[in-house]
Structure formats: structure tokens, C-alpha cells
């Protein structure tokens, strides 16, 4: 199997998770998330990010995406100040099913998203990685480039904050 083919297979395996992670990194900006994912693949294809030597390819890809997002944020911040660019947002995808339960699920999802939007950067990141993508706190620390102790602290605070923000939905914060 060629190197490019191996990289493509790996990327395809983690594409969904990578996009969701990019959504979290971009503050749920669909267009920006797609740009982050695409640029992450460019980094891999150009060999700047050697995924073949990574111990945990998924965590490695997520780490590359995080650096790409940070780089794009910096650039946008500079150009945004100069040109006052408006970043377009893609519409939220909708689901299909029973209108009543759909509305109820939709409201719940909206509330969860709003809550996620209210927690701070590092807490939001560790939440997306641990709750959203099923990484361990140790793996999340690797992706975020911080110590495990620091990641644990962010994780703990994120849980407390989310419990307060989501109080009243189902059983959250009920005990």
C-alpha cells in the first residue's frame, strides 16, 4: 500500500470525528470547520505532519487540526481587523422523523449546543474530545498540548459548568 493511500485510509476512518472536532474548534462554524479539516489533510499530504509515525493516529490528526485552527484564528484575527470580514456560517443540519419528538430533540440539542458555546476554550475542547469523541483525558491532554493534570482540571470544571447549564434537561443536575 502506498503512503498516500495509507494516509487516505486513515483520514477516511477518522473523517467524521475530525470534522466534529473542527466544529468544536471553530465555534460551530461549518464552513470554517471544513477548511480546518481540509488544511489538516493538506498538512498530511505535504508530509509536514507525518501521521505514519504517530502512536495514536486519531489523536495525532486531532492535534494537527488544533494547530491549523489556531493558525487560521490568528490570521483571521489580523485580517478581520483590517478588512472586517464576516465569516459565513453554514445552516445547521436538520433531522427527519416525528415532528413532535423532533422538535423536542431539536430543542434539547440546541440547549446543549448553547451550553457548550458558553464554556471557555480549554474546557470546551476537553469536553468535545472526551464526551464527544470518546478520548481519555490523557489522550485529550496530548491533543491539546497540555499536561494531564491541567486537562483533568479543565475536564472537572467543564463537567460542573455543564451540569449547571443543562440543569432541568432530563436528569442532569437533578441530584
Amino acid at each position: 500500500m502506498t503512503e498516500a493511500r495509507a494516509a487516505a485510509d486513515l483520514a477516511a476512518r477518522h473523517h467524521e470525528g475530525l470534522f466534529r472536532w473542527a466544529l468544536a474548534l471553530s465555534g460551530r462554524d461549518g464552513q470554517e470547520a471544513m477548511e480546518i479539516v481540509q488544511q489538516t489533510y493538506v498538512e498530511v499530504l505535504e508530509g509536514r505532519a507525518d501521521v505514519s509515525s504517530a502512536r495514536d493516529p486519531r489523536a495525532f490528526l486531532f492535534g494537527v487540526a488544533r494547530r491549523v485552527a489556531a493558525s487560521r484564528r490568528r490570521r483571521r484575527s489580523i485580517w478581520g481587523r483590517v478588512l472586517r470580514l464576516e465569516i459565513s456560517r453554514t445552516p445547521e443540519p436538520g433531522g427527519a422523523g416525528d415532528p413532535e419528538s423532533e422538535a423536542s430533540a431539536g430543542e434539547r440539542i440546541d440547549r446543549v449546543r448553547r451550553a457548550l458555546g458558553e464554556i471557555s476554550g480549554r474546557q470546551a475542547e476537553v469536553t468535545a474530545l472526551v464526551f464527544g469523541e470518546g478520548l481519555t483525558v490523557e489522550e485529550a491532554a496530548g491533543v491539546m498540548g497540555i499536561s494531564v493534570g491541567s486537562a483533568r482540571t479543565h475536564y472537572h470544571r467543564a463537567k460542573q459548568r455543564l451540569a449547571r447549564l443543562l440543569e432541568g434537561i432530563d436528569d442532569v443536575g437533578g441530584r
Binding site: R20, V37, Q38, F131, L166, I169, R175
Partner: protein, 174 residues
């Protein structure tokens, strides 16, 4: 179910509502961007290469003129004479002049036009050779002679006289 599990469930529900764009199209665009980057890089190299070469040649010409003025030369720059020297081995400047040095070659530019005619894009290499030649010429108190290889049959020697502005030594021995 603990609050933590409930949060996890809610986040997973929100996560599953997000649909990722098709992998194939994103990957293809990334590949196209990589390809375009390589082509763009090549184009830049093609565009900048000759520009740097020309700038290098122009810089050498300017330095030559400046030094010429400082030495009080009456114009015309270095007087160059060339003579056949079939017995000398080794070459300092390769392919710098044509086998027959025209009269116009005594203009201090060391036959640059002749060389440019043969190899119009090799200004960078020519500039470096010119620089070496000028350093040698100015480094000596008297005239400086160095051989020039012309093909494999015979050698020419360029003779650059002392830069005293007198014009002595401006002779063509060919």
C-alpha cells in the same frame, strides 16, 4: 444514570446531529490544493530565478562602474588584452569569452555581450565569475593575467593592467 453520563448522552446526541461533509470531496480538494501549491511554487521559481540573475549581473556592473570612478579612470573601464597562451594549463574562467575576442571586449565588461549571446540566461554564473575577476584585478598592484579556457584546443589569457587611469597596457596582443 449519573449527571456525567447524562451530559455525555446529551453531547453525543448533539454530536450525532452534525453531519460531516463527504470525505472524498474534502480529500480531493486537499490533494488539488497540494498540487496547485507545487505548481505555484514552480512558477515562482521560474519567475524569480531570472530576476535574481539579472539583479546579480546589474549589481556587478554597478560595482564595476563605482570602482572605476574611484580610481579616476578616464572612462571605458578596464582595458583588456587577450593573447594566445597555448602552453598554460588550468582555467579560471570557463567559457567567458568567444574564441575570437572582438574589439568591443575592451569595455571592461569582459565580453559580457558575447557570452550573453551564447547563454542568455546564465547571468548569475557570469556575475560570480565577473566578481572573481574584478577582485583579482584590484587585488594586484600591477597587471593581472589569468587564463581563460576556450574550448579544448587553446587557451587565452586576459591581461588587466594596473588601475592607474593612464591607459597603459591597453593593448590587444592577438
Amino acid at each position: 444514570m449519573s449527571a456525567e453520563d447524562e451530559i455525555r448522552k446529551l453531547i453525543e446526541e448533539a454530536r450525532d446531529a452534525d453531519s460531516a461533509p463527504d470525505f472524498g470531496s474534502v480529500w480531493s480538494r486537499a490533494r488539488a490544493r497540494v498540487g496547485a501549491g507545487r505548481e505555484g511554487g514552480g512558477a515562482w521559481r521560474w519567475a524569480l530565478g531570472p530576476a535574481f540573475a539579472l539583479a546579480s549581473a546589474a549589481a556587478v556592473a554597478l560595482v564595476t562602474t563605482a570602482l572605476d570612478t574611484e580610481d579616476g579612470a578616464t572612462g571605458g573601464g578596464a582595458a583588456i588584452a587577450a593573447r594566445a597562451d597555448a602552453g598554460r594549463a588550468g582555467a579560471l574562467l570557463a567559457d567567458l569569452v568567444a574564441p575570437e575576442i572582438p574589439d568591443g571586449a575592451t569595455d571592461g565588461v569582459l565580453g559580457i555581450d558575447d557570452d550573453a549571446e551564447r547563454s542568455p540566461f546564465d547571468f548569475a554564473g557570469l556575475g560570480a565569475e565577473l566578481e572573481t575577476a574584478m577582485e583579482l584585478a584590484y587585488g594586484e598592484a600591477g597587471s593581472t593575467a589569468f587564463p581563460i579556457e576556450v574550448g579544448t584546443d587553446f587557451l587565452l589569457t586576459m591581461e588587466i593592467p594596473a588601475w592607474d587611469g593612464s591607459g597603459e597596457g591597453e593593448r590587444n596582443l592577438l
